[in-house]
Symmetry: D2
C-alpha cells in the first residue's frame, strides 16, 4: 500500500485526489490547500482524510511515501524540493517548474535519493495519443514531415503565466512522446491584448536537425474551440481532432511520390490518395491510467517515461519560447 | 469598347479570357502562349481570336488598349514593362512581380503614362470578403486583435516558387484589404521536404505597430484541405471558412470584458458569449466582378483599390518572408 | 419545505434524487428500490436518507408530500395510483403509463384530490426547447409546414418496450409543446431485427387537421448518433441539432414565396434565401429547472404545463403507433 | 460508330449530349427540342449537329441507331414508343414512364425488336454506389437490417410531379441495385404546402419479405441540404453522405451481438464497436461511364443491368407510393 498526500485542491486537484483515492493500492492520507473553502469540500467528500493548510504537514510526514503536487507552477519548485528532500516520490503537475534550472536540481536530487518524479502530462495516457504512438512506432507514417498543433478557444485566462505556458505543455509533451527526435531550436511570436505583459495568443515553432518542423498555435482569444493536430509523413498522414466524439484519429493513405530528383525543375511530383482509416481508441480516463502507472513505477522501481527529464524538456522549450517572443521571433537554440 | 489581349493561357488564363470575352464592353482581340496546344484550345473555343506565340504581338499592337498578363510570376516584369512602355493598361496575376523593386518600377511608369495597373487579387471580389469588409467598416468587430489564416492541402506543388509565394498572396491581400493598418515587420519559418530548396510548408507572422498580430499557415503537405481565417476583435469575433457551402462567414457575439486594470494580478477578465450570426454572402463569380471593375476603371479613369501599390505591399511581405525564413525566423522590418 | 420520497434508483433516478436533494425548498426523506446494491449506493452518497425495498413505505408515509416515480413504465400505474390514493403529488417519468386509460384514471383521481401530476418530459426545460418555444410564439417561423425528428444511435436496447416507447416520448413531448395544434391521426411502420417482437427501428408520422406533417425516425441500430429536428415554416426554417456543443439551434431566413395560384401550372415559386442566425441558449441542467418548477407548482398550487394531460397526449400517440405498426402503417385516428 | 439523336435539351440534356458527343464510338447526328432558344444554344456549341423541333425527325431517321430521351416524364412513353417502333435503342431519363403499364409495353416491344432500353439511373455509375455494391457483394455488412435515405433541400419545385417522383427514383434505384431482394409492399405519407395537390414533402417505406425495412425522406422544403443514406447490417454498418467532398462512404465496424435468444426477457444484447474505414471512391463523371456502357451494350448486344425492367421496378414503387399517400399511409402491395 502506497501512502499518498495531495498538495493543492484547485481546478485539477480534485481529479488527482479522486483517482488516487479509488486506486486499491493507494491510501490517500491527507490533502492540503491554502484555501479553507476547498478543504471543507475535501472533508465533505472524503471524511477520512486529514486536511492541512501547510504543505509541510504532508512533505514532512514520515508515513507518507509519495506526494501529488497540484498547485500553481510558481510554487512547484519549493514544494517539490521539500518533498524530495524528505524522501518522497513526486507526482507533479505540468509544467514541472518555472525554470529549467529548478527542474535540473529536482532531477538530480531525486536521482540521488532514488525517488521517482512523474510529471502529469495526462494526454500521454489518452487512448488517442497511445494509438498514435503505436502507429508511429510501426512506421506507418514513414519519415515525419511536420507536426502542426492548434489549441485555441475563448479563455481560460491565467494571471501569472502566458498562453504558451498554459496550453503548450500538453502539445509539446505529445510531440516529444510521439517523435523521438531532439528539438534543436525554437522561435516564437506572440501578443498580449487583454494584459499587454501576458501573451494571450502565440505561435511557437520547434526545429529539429532535419527538415522536420513543429508548430503550435496557442490562443485564449479564439471565437471557436479547436484542438487539432496534423502529422504528415512520407508514407501516410494523420489528423488528431480531440473534439471529435468518436473519430478522434484519422489516418490518410495520402502522400507525395517523387519520381526523379535530378534538379528542382525536373522534379516530378505525384500525389497519392487512398483510403482513410479511423481506428477505435481506448476510452478510459487518462488520469486513472497515469496514477496507476505512478503506483506501479513506485512498487516496481521503474523509471517512468514521463519523468523529470521529460518534464524538463518541455520547460526548456517554454523558456526558449519566452526568450524568442521577447526577441521578435529570433531563433533560440536549446 | 475596350480592346484587350490575353497573355498566357495556362491554369488561370482560360478564366480570365472567358470573363473578358463575355463582358459586353470588351473586345478580346488576341491571345498568346508559348504552348501551341493551348493556343489550339483557344482557337476551338474562340475562333474569332488571333493567336500568337510572342507576347510582343499583343503588347505592341496599337489596336489593343489593355493586356491581361496570366503567366508565371518570373515573367511578369518583362511582359508588364513592355506593355506599360507601349501604353497599355495592365490586368496582372498575383503576385505582381518577383521583386518589389520591379513592382516599384512598373508603378512609376504606369503613373507617368496614366495607365492602370490592376493586380488580380480575385478573393477581394468574393461575396465573403466583401461582406467581411462591410462588417469591419461598420466597426462590428471593434479593435482587431488578430488575423489567423490557414490555407493548407495536399499539393499543388510549384517548381519555381515556394508555398508562401504560391498561397500567401491570397491571404495577405485579404488582410491588407480588411485591416487598414500598415504592417511593420515579418517573421517566418518554413521547411522543404520534397525539394529541400523550396519550402512546402511555412508559417508567416506579420506584426503591426500595436498588439495586432497576423499569422498564416501555408502548406502543400496537409492530408486535409483547410481554408479558414479567424479574426477576433474587442467587440465580436469572426470565422471565415471558405470551404463551407452555405455559411462561409460566422460572426460570434463573444469576447472578453476587462473589469479593472490596476495591475495584472487584479485584472478581472469576464467572458461574454452571445448569439452567432451567419450573413448571406453574394454568390457571383469573383473574377467576373473584378474584370468588370477593370473595365470601369479604364472607362472612368478610376484608380483601382487593387492597384500596383496594393500588389507591391503583398510582394514586400513575400520578400520579407523569404528573408526571415533564411534567417531562422528573424524579424524583418518592412 | 416540501418532503419528497424517491421511488426507483436505476438509470435516471440518481439525477432526480440529486436535483431534489440540492433544492433548498425540499427535504428528500427516503428512497426505495428493489435492488439492494443501488440502495447501498444511495446510503453512501446520502447517509441521511431512509431506504426501503417496498415503495409503499414511501407512498403511505404521511410525512411525505410528494413522490418521484422513476421506475420502469410497466410499474408506473400501480405505484402512481397508490401515491395518488394516499394524497401525494407526483413527479413521474415519461411515458406516464403503459396505457392511456391508466393515465386517464390517474388524472381523474389527482384532480379529485387536488394533487399535481408532473410528467418528467425533461427536454421541455432545456435551453434549446425553451428558445424554440419563444421563437415560435413570436411567430418567427410563420405557419409550420413540418416537424421532422431523427433520434438514432446504436443501442440502448430495452427488453420490455420498443424503440418508439423508448425514444419517441422525448420528441413527441417537444412537438406537442412547440406546436399548439391537436394531432388527429398517426401512422407508423417498424421492424425488429434483434428481437422480432420488439421494433428496434420505426418511423412514425403524426397528422394534423391541415397540411402540417410530423415525422419521427427512431432507431437503435444506427452506426452514427443523430439527434436532429427540422421545423420549416412559411416565414423561416429551423434546425435543432442537439449534438452540437455551441450552436444547437439555427434559424434560416429561407423560404418559398408563391407569386400566383391560378392553377398548378401557373404557380410561380420563388426561393428566398437570407442570413442564418444561431441564438445562444441557456445552459442550465434541465432537470434542475424542472424539479424547481415542480416544487413551485406545489407551493403555489399551479397546474404544470407538463401535467398528466400532457403525458396522456404522448401515450395516446404511442398507443396509436403500436396499433398502426401492427396494421402495416394504416392510419389510426386519435 | 453508333449514330445517336438527342431528344430534349432542358436541364439534363446538355450533359447527355456532351457525354455522347465526346464518346469516340459515337456520332451525335441531331438534337431536338420544342424550345428554339435551347436549339440555338446547341448550334452554338455543336455547329455540326442538325436541330429539329419535332422528335419524329429523330425517331424516324433511318441513319440513327439510338436515341436519348431527355424530356419531361409525361412525354416519355409517346416518344419512346415511337423510337422503339422505329427500331431504335433507347437511353431514357428516369423515371422511365408515368405508368408501369407503359413501361411494360415498352419493354415488351423492345424485346421483340431486340433493342436495348437503358434507363438513366446515373447514381448507379458513381464511385460511391459502385464501392457500396462491391462492399455488399463481399458480404461485409452481413444481413441488411435497414436502408434509410434522406434527400432533402429547398426546391427545386416541379409543377407536374410530386417530390417522390422527382427525388425518390435516385434512391430507389440505388436500393434496388444494392439490395438484391424483391420489395413486396409500400406505404407512404406526404403533404403539399405550396400546392396542396402536389406533395412537397413525403416519407416512403418499402417492405420486404423479411425484417429488412427501407425508408426514404423526400423534401423540397428543408432549410438544409441533406443527402445521407444509412445501411446497417448484422456485421457492419455504412453511412453514405453524398455531400462530403472526400469521405463519401464510411464503414463502421459496429454492431449488436446476441448472446442468447431463449425469450425476449433473457436476450443478452452486446454492442460491438471497432474501427471506421472510409474507402477512396472513383471520381469519374458517372454519366460518362453510363453513356460508355450504353454504347458497349449496343455494340456487344448486352442487356444492361439498368434496363427497362429495372426502370419498371422503380415506377411500380412510385405508383404504389402515390396510391398509399392517397389512402393515408395504407400498405400497398407490389
Amino acid at each position: 500500500m502506497i501512502v499518498i498526500g495531495i498538495i493543492g485542491y484547485g481546478y485539477w486537484g480534485p481529479n488527482v485526489l479522486r483517482n488516487f483515492y479509488n486506486n486499491k493500492d493507494v491510501k490517500v492520507l491527507a490533502c492540503c490547500d491554502t484555501d479553507n473553502m476547498r478543504l471543507r469540500k475535501v472533508k465533505e467528500l472524503y471524511p477520512d482524510l486529514k486536511i492541512f493548510n501547510d504543505y509541510r504537514e504532508i512533505t514532512r510526514n514520515p508515513k507518507i511515501d509519495a506526494v501529488a503536487i497540484v498547485t500553481p507552477v510558481s510554487t512547484h519548485y519549493e514544494i517539490a524540493d521539500d518533498a524530495v528532500s524528505n524522501g518522497k516520490h513526486i507526482f507533479i503537475e505540468k509544467p514541472i517548474t518555472s525554470l529549467s534550472s529548478e527542474a535540473e536540481t529536482l532531477i538530480a536530487r531525486s536521482e540521488k535519493s532514488k525517488k521517482i518524479i512523474m510529471v502529469d502530462h495526462t494526454f500521454l495516457f489518452t487512448g488517442a495519443v497511445k494509438k498514435m504512438k503505436n502507429i508511429i512506432e510501426l512506421d506507418e507514417l514513414g519519415e515525419i514531415y511536420f507536426f502542426d498543433s492548434v489549441r485555441v478557444n475563448l479563455g481560460l485566462f491565467q494571471h501569472d503565466i502566458n498562453v504558451v505556458w498554459d496550453l503548450a505543455p500538453h502539445d509539446i509533451s505529445v510531440m516529444n512522446y510521439l517523435i523521438p527526435k531532439k528539438a534543436v531550436s525554437v522561435s516564437a511570436v506572440g501578443s498580449g491584448h487583454i494584459n499587454e505583459h501576458i501573451e494571450d495568443i502565440a505561435y511557437l515553432t520547434v526545429n529539429f536537425d532535419n527538415s522536420l518542423i513543429a508548430h503550435f498555435h496557442l490562443n485564449w482569444l479564439s471565437p471557436v474551440k479547436i484542438r487539432k493536430t496534423l502529422i504528415s509523413g512520407s508514407k501516410k498522414m494523420l489528423v488528431w481532432d480531440d473534439l471529435e466524439a468518436d473519430e478522434k484519429i484519422k489516418i490518410y493513405d495520402k502522400g507525395v511520390d517523387i519520381e526523379t530528383r535530378e534538379g528542382s525543375y525536373n522534379l516530378l511530383v505525384k500525389y497519392r490518395s487512398g483510403d482513410m482509416w479511423s481506428p477505435q481508441v481506448e476510452n478510459i480516463e487518462a488520469l486513472k491510467l497515469e496514477t496507476q502507472y505512478f503506483v506501479e513505477c513506485i512498487k516496481n522501481n521503474i523509471k517512468p517515461f514521463n519523468d523529470g527529464v521529460a518534464g524538463l524538456e518541455v520547460v526548456k522549450i517554454l523558456e526558449a519560447s519566452d526568450k524568442s517572443i521577447k526577441n521578435g521571433g529570433k531563433k533560440v537554440c536549446l
